[in-house]
Amino acid sequence: MIKIEFLGPISVEPIEMEATSLQEVANRLQEIEAVSGWLDKCAVAVNDEMTNDLTKILKSGDRVSILPPVCGG
């Protein structure tokens, strides 16, 4: 089971799903209305490490974080 968590202003509770790659996670999230509008401006971390690789293999217990646009300071 993969846990997906939405950070900052995305007010969506964490989701758990079966997935073996980030591509599968992307496909599922695109179908969720409250989430899909955020995806084009969000970055992604797997187990707290930023990633640019959609083919990244996921294993059970991995955490995927969705990070919307930032503004620190």
Partner: protein
């Protein structure tokens, strides 16, 4: 890296950082203070932070600074920070000024673009995401 609930005690933090490096033989210490300005009827700004990714981001800057013989430090507020108080401090120490002057510029700009921190305006007690001032992080859009 230091995180605090609410406004930062600027003088105490800068004073302590100065003391920490008093024997380190750095010739330059450049502090940066981010202060909440009163504008658009806000009473405060408010911040969410994702600490694990922020720590990784900061650690990469520690290494980058070390490679130039320098040191970076930062502090940030979590939650509400009233106008005219500080939410963000950073500093660079280096043996000579040039490295510190260049690093503080790169460090603060990269912080604005890639530190996982979310800002909200606080107006009449409501917390409103500052979407128009926010920047997508590197690699955004991967899942779209």
């Amino acid at each position: 890296m230091e995180l605090y609930q609410g406004s930062l005690d600027v003088k105490a933090i800068f004073g302590r950082w100065l003391d920490e490096e008093s024997e380190s033989n750095y010739g330059a210490y450049i502090p940066f203070v981010g202060t909440i300005r009163a504008e658009d009827n806000i009473e405060a700004l408010s911040f969410d932070i994702y600490e694990p990714v922020l720590q990784t981001w900061f650690n990469s800057w520690v290494k980058k600074a070390e490679s130039k013989g320098a040191k970076v430090k930062m502090a940030h507020a979590i939650g509400d920070v009233p106008v005219h108080t500080s939410s963000y401090l950073s500093a660079v120490f280096s043996p000579k000024r040039r490295v510190a002057l260049e690093l503080i510029d790169e460090f603060v700009e990269d912080f604005k673009a890639n530190a996982p921190i979310w800002k909200y305006d606080v107006i009449d007690g409501n917390r409103i995401y500052a979407e128009d001032r926010s920047t997508p992080m590197e690699g955004s859009g991967l899942l779209s």
